[in-house]
Symmetry: C2
Subunit: 133 residues, 2 copies
């Protein structure tokens, strides 16, 4: 890994399977490095470096809590990926197909039921509230 001297982008950051798994772990809750390390067959130092790459890509952020450093998921940066992908969807499936996919997969707890009225509202609401999209 060494010192990632140049700025890491999101694409680079998610290219590594270990880092993707780390992101998955952090979805659940904040975790200190040691606990993250427990989930992998490599050294704590290696994980720390992966966390650094993720951090530089703004996919996670860490704060010190006592003598531990807790890392937290920062999924907002995935917007870049989403945006990149959406470009290809234009020429691939049409948006409606994507919408269908989304809606069909809304069986999880955090999902929101999308009603026609909501969509209509969204369609005219140009302001994207919240950070960056």
């Amino acid at each position: 890994m060494a010192a990632p001297r140049q700025e890491h982008d999101v694409f680079q950051a998610i290219a590594d399977p270990t880092r993707r798994k780390i992101l998955r772990l952090l979805v659940e809750k904040e975790l200190p490095i040691s606990e993250i390390t427990d989930q992998f067959p490599m050294s704590r130092t290696a994980i720390a470096k992966h966390l650094r790459v993720l951090s530089e890509a703004q996919l996670v952020s860490g704060k010190k809590i006592g003598r531990e450093k807790h890392y937290r998921l920062r999924p907002e940066s995935l917007a870049e990926l989403q945006e990149w992908l959406s470009y290809f969807e234009q020429f691939w499936n049409n948006k409606l197909t994507m919408l269908k996919y989304r809606v069909e997969h809304q069986e999880d707890k955090n999902s929101i039921v999308v009603k026609p009225t909501d969509l209509g509202k969204a369609k005219t609401n140009k302001s994207r509230e919240g950070s960056e999209f």
Copy 2:
């Protein structure tokens, strides 16, 4: 680059900016290696290797036409990426926010206007026609 002996996944394939640009080029139309190379400041051989990586990730396919080899975009493999991303969206923006984003960005020629009726239909239609999602 060397010989990519182990199977390349999509995440790896799109990690490189040159490869992402190649994909963008191929959105427009099929292109022979030489024409692709014209768009970059590197050798034809380098581009050929990038195409090999993309090919192994099933993001492009090539067919010989005369003495040229034409490459074509295979966006279906991006589904894997989309699926991975959608997992995080559950905990990030809710689906509605994503829908809003989509709909707000439908000012291109190929887009489909999503009407509330369409969404309603999609929501109950479980069959995902066409290749793979």
